[in-house]
Symmetry: C2
Subunit: 237 residues, 2 copies
């Protein structure tokens, strides 16, 4: 792990390039990542960038992985800072943070969950990494939900306990595959919450929600609270 001076400088420049790319995406959109523009911004010529990233695709891959990890970190952090003995508050905190991060880092969120960038092609190894990072983002929510159910702070209605076989079986398979120690009900509820939150966030980012509901923060918080109620939260707000 000992880095030579050269390696340190190299890494610094790699970060500088990513920062310039992010700045550019923020201004012009995720798809507008231009090597030549990045080079101009940091006072180099375009071919020099190839000393740091073997192609535009590799640079974009680095940005995507960074974004995934930052989101996962943010959600884990929200989980850690919520009251440890209160899984319901943990669930809320993580759900709220999902949107907060998306709004505060629109570009990175679009990089993860938006349209693919034109001409960008992901290698299978990278897909595996992003899938892992994606799963890591929602581990806190899964854990909090499972705990809430075990503590009977959430008593899910029968619909979510006795799931029909065609829904139940794939969930079971997935749980076994990853060796999770959770019930299919937990898994189903998390997917429900994820889908709901994700949809509201996407609509907000595309500008479809704000003109309709005014303050989206308020609506989102209300929806999160209501989601817990729908899940069978036994604690009134």
């Amino acid at each position: 792990m000992t880095q030579t001076r050269r390696e340190r400088l190299h890494d610094t420049t790699r970060e500088e390039i990513k920062d310039a790319a992010r700045a550019q995406m923020t201004k012009e959109g995720t798809a507008a990542v231009s090597l030549r523009a990045i080079a101009r911004a940091i006072g180099m010529t375009a071919p020099a960038l190839y000393r740091y990233y073997s192609s535009r695709d590799e640079l974009i891959t680095a940005l995507i992985l960074d974004a995934f990890n930052a989101l996962a970190d943010a959600m884990l952090n929200a989980y850690d800072h919520a009251p440890a003995n209160n899984p319901l508050d943990q669930m809320k905190a993580v759900m709220i943070e999902y949107r907060a991060w998306a709004v505060a880092h629109r570009v990175d969120f679009q990089l993860i969950y938006g349209n693919p960038i034109p001409d960008y092609h992901q290698t299978p190894e990278v897909s595996a990494l992003t899938a892992l990072a994606s799963a890591r983002s929602f581990e806190p929510l899964v854990r909090a939900t499972e705990t809430a159910i075990r503590m009977e702070l959430i008593v899910p209605p029968d619909e979510y306990v006795n799931l029909p076989a065609e829904i139940l079986n794939p969930l079971k398979t997935q749980i076994e595959r990853y060796g999770y120690d959770i019930s299919p009900t937990t898994f189903y509820l998390v997917i429900m919450a994820w889908g709901h939150g994700h949809g509201l966030i996407m609509l907000e980012l595309d500008g479809h929600l704000q003109p309709i509901v005014g303050d989206v923060t308020t609506l989102y918080a209300h929806r999160v609270n209501d989601l817990l109620r729908q899940m069978g939260s036994t604690v009134r707000e």
Copy 2:
């Protein structure tokens, strides 16, 4: 409305250009619309396209408006073909169609709800048109929901009837502004359903859902049925 032969040919070519553009997007992604490639595909040179669209942006605008209208038509059609006296089935049909259209027309759906295309800039007039088309898409769902509530096929739980002021007021404002004849509860429930369905669809299109739940069609249908239950449907499936 009488068209000369020339105008007819002109319109035909405009359609041919759009078709080529759609074919290209389907193959290479929404952002990869290339005038030169379109020209090649239909046996012309790129500058010739400027006789039909004054720029790449204007072509993309045409594609976006087409997509919006096609989605609205599809949802209205689903509404019309559901049993007229059964608003619950109408609601289901429209929600199911929303996903079905998105999956069958991924590219057009991304054009509407995905990342903006790089360097594409929308004029305010176009934004107004798309907002209108977007509203038109969800009119059937709004109407069916309002009817279901009036017929007491849906009796929404208290949470959705007595909405907190900070949620209620923006909804009321919006309803007045468009002169809709619906209750804020209807509006809230539609936003809830829209957000939920939209999120699941986006996750599916990005490939995040299928590996987790296997058959997404089954999960989505299950979620739609459960949404009606959450809204307070008095009819058991």
